[in-house]
């Protein structure tokens, strides 16, 4: 019983440490905001964190894995393990509302809800994160990272990144 409580407490501390790790390319988002953090377990006193990759080729995933290990070590967890789970596959629908708000404030238009094929190919109405106008147009489907497309606002004339649906 005491062990169970202790384990819950430990697990929560490990979760909090891992959850605070930020995306190296979009540092306003934590991996919890992104929905990348899937599970934290304590097995025989060793922390095991499960994360799920976002875009297949996203180079940030290696960095995120390393940052999680470092964060846990700093919290006093020895020899933590990070494993990758592929199923169920990550989608931008897992991004938290808080994460979407943070993205917008950072100047990146958040992904439209419903990362289905309809959202990929339907009429995308992306609001400008600067002025809020819906009068926007796509400049390039592929942006500075795998997760972003380059857009432009026709009202305020500012270019902006759009976090693509996935």
């Amino acid at each position: 019983m005491v062990t169970a409580v202790l384990n819950d407490d430990l697990r929560q501390r490990a979760w909090d440490a891992a959850a605070a790790v930020v995306d190296p390319e979009i540092p306003v988002l934590t991996i919890a905001d992104l929905g990348v953090l899937r599970d934290v377990a304590i097995n025989d006193g060793r922390v095991e964190v499960a994360i799920t990759p976002t875009y297949s080729g996203c180079p940030a995933m290696n960095m995120i894995g390393l940052e999680i290990e470092l964060a846990l070590e700093r919290e006093g967890f020895r020899n933590p393990k990070v494993r990758t789970v592929l199923s169920p596959a990550w989608t931008t629908d897992w991004m938290s509302d808080d994460g979407r708000r943070k993205l917008r404030e950072y100047g990146i238009a958040p992904p439209l809800a419903g990362g289905s094929r309809r959202a990929l190919f339907g009429i995308e109405q992306v609001a400008c994160p600067q002025c809020g106008s819906g009068e926007t147009e796509v400049l390039s489907e592929f942006g500075s990272t795998s997760c972003k497309a380059l857009w432009r606002c026709k009202s305020c004339r500012e270019p902006f990144d759009y976090f693509k649906c996935h």
Binding site: L86, A89, F142
Partner: protein, 258 residues
């Protein structure tokens, strides 16, 4: 070359996973060759991004092949320490970039196929393959859209771009048949609900290709003679050159990391 190639135990599932992985790696590498050379900055980023998607897909598939094989190989060994004859990719994907039209037609033929393929594979009884497919199908959807737009722009563009696009279609068409072929090893996996039967995708593939090619005022060749061999390791002369570049570091400095 200072290091020998690995041996691979090609059970049907290992072979199948390697075929899918090799497709992604080789096309991804070809696209990476454009980095810094594309006709404009946005296109440079687009080609590199698509290459990165494919590289990511390849990594997940190689890792899975290594796990299934269970002989101590890993994603890097599969990529860096197999010789030409051990590669299982489609001949279409190793064809040189040529001009921009050749690159885009190659991309278009494959992306339309991959998009259908991954969507079908999401229903695989193999949970890992289904999960890789669930991610890849969204990426390939972007690749289809991007390459389709270019086919139309090139075909329905200037006299020069039209001629180049038509030339690329004529050159690459004989490599498209291989996408729909199946051997006995794969047939068993299809029957088991693990692999996708590509023959079932052919009519939809052709429909999409015809519609885009038609809009682009281009035509498909009449000939239905098709080249094959990549799936069993019989490649064109181009793959060896590609691998010599891709593998040179690990072959020269085995196990090098940085």
């Amino acid at each position: 070359m200072a290091i020998a190639s690995i041996k691979v135990s090609e059970t049907p599932l290992v072979l199948y996973t390697l075929r899918c992985a090799d497709d992604a790696l080789i096309l991804g590498h070809r696209l990476s060759e454009w980095c810094g050379h594309a006709p404009m900055l946005e296109e440079d980023m687009a080609l590199a991004n698509m290459g990165l998607d494919l590289l990511g897909q390849a990594r997940e598939l190689y890792s899975y092949a290594a796990e299934v094989e269970g002989k101590g190989n890993d994603e890097d060994k599969f990529a860096y320490l197999r010789d030409v004859r051990q590669y299982r990719n489609l001949l279409l994907l190793e064809q040189p970039n040529g001009d921009f039209a050749h690159t885009m037609v190659r991309q278009f033929f494959y992306a339309v196929f991959a998009d259908l393929y991954w969507r079908a594979m999401m229903k695989s009884r193999d949970a890992t393959l289904a999960a890789v497919a669930a991610k890849s199908e969204k990426e390939s959807a972007y690749h289809v859209r991007h390459s389709s737009e270019w086919i139309v722009r090139l075909g329905d563009g200037t006299e020069e771009s039209h001629a180049r696009a038509q030339g690329a279609i004529d050159d690459l068409w004989p490599f498209t048949g291989e996408m729909f072929q199946v051997d006995d090893s794969e047939r068993a996996l299809i029957d088991a609900g693990i692999a996708v039967d590509p023959a079932t995708l052919h009519s939809q593939w052709l429909k999409t290709v015809l519609s885009v090619v038609g809009e682009a005022t281009l035509v498909l060749p009449k000939s239905d003679w098709m080249q094959q061999g990549g799936r069993s390791g019989r490649h064109s002369e181009h793959l060896g050159h590609l691998l010599s570049e891709l593998q040179s570091m690990q072959r020269t400095f085995p196990g090098a990391t940085w």
